[in-house]
Every structure is written in structure tokens, then in C-alpha cells.
Symmetry: C2
Subunit: 299 residues, 2 copies
């Protein structure tokens, strides 16, 4: 059966929350083990939409997602929307385990990176990578571990009957994760399914983003020239990310988010002007930009 | 006692090898637990030099190092050199453990990320984060684990009496790590201690690199303008990295590596021209660029 939306993790994970925010509370969901599996579910038609984290305001970019965007764009997977969720972490243990019993702390590496202060304050804690935040709670509770805790949302503690030992353990309250909605390219009129707000557009919602991926021609100054193609036309760049090209040591692919929409004269002219400086250039998606950071819907 | 060079990990780790390549085979070394501890050892005078990984050609940038460069530049820690090492990984187990016994695989997260193909081929493997590659071998051998293996160099297998189950498990043979040499700012004549080659400079060694860190003024086009300041003067940009600014959601610090030397007229003019577009701009170091990737010295 075709699911409405695929996400990484288990129910009550942040990805699950983002998936429901994109596809609606009544959406059918498909839980995947890895970010890559979400892309595959969309590419192979098992889910109409996918939701993947792309950056966190404390830990930074999610490299696996950037790499998967490049790998699956050839299959027609495109970005069709984005959502920003506030992330609050708690330290959660099986019932009966107290703070002084804890030696191992399980969570997704990005969540572990968001709580460096907790590990500095508790040098007896060993950080252990897990595939998912909520999944780590599920796992330690099921195993009945007496020396383990997990970093996840309070919602995950409730979902899997864990006990909250400490709340708000993230390094900074301004902790947001931006998620992308992905879908197979739809060359028809409605290119942004439920990710595009159906409600009348507020000024902020009227903004669009365009994400591009390019590699550079081997000439000095090509990156500045490409970025200049957009800056010269008043198109604002809101994010740039570089990733290594496997097999080409010290060469990079660049991911750039621009404010504007493909089909607008300014954007189309800028993409045309950028072309000669790029070895390859592709548009990963043109979609409504998220509003300013919103509170998580059901924390 | 003052050590010649601090590195992260344990003896026989890649960091140890890079430390000896920078400071000489006879150097006294200080092993640190985290990258941040290497910076602290240099800042507090416990070691004259530090060596830290900054990027890998498969896994990408080492974010902790970028963040520490920003944090410790205020203490006068500067980049004084760089080295590139080829990285080859093996799957290593305690003696008597066979490939089909392995369930948990320990290594540094960057090493785990370099071996994604191994985990795809062995879905029964669970990746577990460790603080160090060679340290993971030391740990599983000491514990006598019967279901565990570690990803590290063949050299680490020899150092800690582990058995090589599989060799060359990295995703791609073009696997290099670039290390930075750091030291306290030396405003005297010799700003690049042993990291600067004493031998007559070959054409490649004659090249210098300058690393800068900046944040942007809040105006569209400022990133393109800063990069243009260098491109317009024929100064080549070889790497750009962005990192989130904690407490300022969706704003970034930019790290840029340029070919050229502070004190040269072109570079100084470009830095001056870039100034008005930056909210903050600082030079993290100006140092001799590494030669093309070199084979590890004692693999």
C-alpha cells in the first residue's frame, strides 16, 4: 500500500512529527531505518512524500541527507517543501534507573552533538550512537538496561514508558531542525503537494526557495562568479554547503539555497548566467519557504 | 614537561602518525581524548604544537575541529601548517573472533562514515561510536569481546595484537585526511615551526595557504562580495565551510581557505576589501600548503 509520507526513525521521533506536520495528522506513515531509505521509498513509489532533516541550528548540516539529494536527483526525487521544528531533548531512562546509575547514553549522533554540555558535566557518561532518538528510548526500555539512558523528546518518554531524568539537556534553547519534504518530480501544475500551504499566503509564506547543486569548472574564481550571478540580480543566498566528491580528493559539490522561484525571470536569468562557471548544475527543487521557526506541533 | 606535539587518540592512531609527520619521528607526543583537548593543550602551553584532522575526502569536514578553531582563536591558537595522509581501514577483531561472529563494530564516527559499504554488505553489523580508531581496537582486545570488531589501520591491529578480518574496507581508495598543525601565535619571524619545510622549497611547497573565518553583515549579496574580493585579485579559493552560529538560528560562520600569504600585497588588499561586507573577520593562519596527497609514512 502506498503511504502518504516516509520518515526516518520510529513513532514519536522528531522525523515522525515533521512528517505529520507536512502531510497532515491523518496521514499514513512509513517508518524507515536510514535517511537513505526515505529517499528510496519515494524513488520507488512506496511513499508519495518523504521527510528528512537537512540541518540543525546547533549541530549543523546533516551530511547523509545532502549526499542522498545528489544520489537520488537522478531518479527524479525533488525538494517540494520544508518545515522547521523546535527540538527539545530530555535524558530518559527505564523506570527505576536513577541519574547516578547512568554510564551509557544512547541517541542519534546529531542529538548527541546537540548535548555536548551534558557530557562535559557528566564525564562518567559514554556517548553511544543509535539510529534514532525515540528508537534509543524504545531499545533501552525493552532491554531493561540498568546503566543506560537515552536522549530524546519528552514525547518519546511517554510513548515508550521511559522516565525523564533531566529535561532541556540541549546546549542551547535556540535548537531547531529544518526538514525537507521530498517527492518524485511532478511536471504538472501542482508541484508542491500538501507541503504548499493551502491557506491564504501570509507575507512570509509567499516567499519561495530554490535549492541548487553544482560542481565547479577548474578555473580560479568560479565559485565567486556563480554566487555573483545570483547576487548581481538581487537574489539572496541563505545557505551554502560543500561536500567532498568521492574519488576526486579535495574537490567539492556545492549545495546552495536561494530565495526565489524557478520560472521567475530574475531566477531563470541568474541560473543561465551561472551555467558557464559550473561543470554540472541542477535544480533540486523550488518550493515555498518555511515560516520563521515554529513550535513543534505536539510537544 | 612540555611535549613537542599533542594529538587526539592513542598510539598508532592516524592522529599519532600525522603528529610525527609534522613534528618529526623523535618528537615527544601528548595523547588527548578529544579534538578540543588538543587545542587546550596548545592554548595552555602543555604542547608546542597540536595536530587535528580538518577534513576527509570521503566523509567531509570535521565539524568539531572547525568549531574549536573559532573557540580557541581568541586564545591565540593559529594554524601553522597542514599534512595530508592516505587513510586505509581494516576490520579488526580480538584473536579467535571470526567474521560471522561480529555484531558490533566500533570506531570513530568519521571512520564509520568512510565505510558505509561495509555496513550495507553486513546488515547484521551495528555501528558503535568510539573516541578513536586505534583506541577501539585496544578496547575490544582488552575486553576480550567475542562479538565485536573495530575499524582502524592495519598498524593499529599490530600495535594492540588484533586480527585483521578484512582489509581495505573504506568506500573508496582515494581516502585522504587533511590534518592541521596548530600552535600559539608567534609574532616573531618564524611563524611556522617544524611544519614549515626546512628543505629547499619545491614548486608545490612554495605555495602558501591562508585560512580565514568570518560572519556576514545582514545584507543580501555579502557572501558573493567577500568571495569576489579575493577572486577579483586572482586569489583562488580552495575550500569553503559553513557552521551554524549557536543562538542565532539559520546564521552561519564561514571558514575559507585561500591560496596566498598574508603580507603579500594582493592578499592584504583583498582582506581589506572584504572587511566592509563582514560583521567579523579573522585570519586563522597563513602557512605552507601541503604537497599533493602523500602516502602515510609508516603504513
Amino acid at each position: 500500500m502506498l503511504a502518504d509520507v516516509a520518515y526516518q526513525g520510529v513513532p514519536a521521533a522528531f522525523g515522525h512529527e515533521a512528517a505529520l506536520a507536512v502531510a497532515g495528522e491523518a496521514a499514513t506513515t512509513l517508518a524507515c531505518r536510514r535517511f537513505e531509505d526515505v529517499f528510496r521509498a519515494v524513488a520507488e513509489g512506496a511513499a508519495r512524500l518523504g521527510v528528512v532533516p537537512i540541518e540543525n541550528t546547533l549541530a549543523g548540516s546533516v551530511h547523509e541527507t545532502y549526499d542522498a539529494l545528489a544520489r537520488f536527483q537522478g531518479d527524479g526525487v525533488r525538494i517540494v517543501g520544508e518545515r522547521v521544528l523546535r527540538i527539545a531533548h530530555a535524558l530518559i531512562a527505564p523506570r527505576g534507573v536513577s541519574l547516578r546509575d547512568v554510564r551509557r547514553v544512547f541517541s542519534h549522533p546529531v542529538a548527541l552533538a546537540q548535548c555536548e554540555g551534558l557530557f562535559r558535566a557528566h564525564p562518567e557518561f559514554e556517548a553511544v550512537a543509535a539510529f534514532n532518538t525515540a528508537g534509543a528510548v524504545q531499545q533501552i526500555v525493552a532491554a531493561g538496561a540498568r546503566d543506560a539512558a537515552a536522549i530524546a523528546s519528552v514525547r518519546a518518554a511517554h510513548a515508550y514508558d521511559g522516565e525523564v531524568l533531566l529535561d532541556g539537556v540541549e546546549d542551547h534553547a535556540d535548537n531547531y531542525t529544518r526538514f525537507l519534504a521530498i517527492s518524485l518530480r511532478d511536471d504538472g501544475a501542482s508541484s508542491a503537494p500538501s507541503a504548499a500551504p493551502a491557506a491564504p499566503a501570509a507575507p512570509d509564506e509567499a516567499r519561495w526557495k530554490t535549492s541548487i547543486l553544482f560542481t565547479l569548472e577548474h578555473r580560479p574564481g568560479t565559485l565567486a562568479s556563480i554566487l555573483g550571478s545570483f547576487a548581481d540580480r538581487g537574489i539572496d543566498l541563505v545557505k551554502i554547503e560543500s561536500r567532498p566528491l568521492p574519488g576526486r580528493p579535495f574537490e567539492y559539490a556545492f549545495y546552495v539555497d536561494l530565495l526565489g522561484r524557478v520560472g521567475d525571470a530574475k531566477m531563470d536569468a541568474a541560473l543561465l548566467a551561472a551555467g558557464p562557471y559550473a561543470r554540472t548544475l541542477c535544480v533540486l527543487g523550488s518550493y515555498p519557504a518555511a515560516k520563521a521557526p515554529e513550535r513543534a506541533t505536539f510537544v
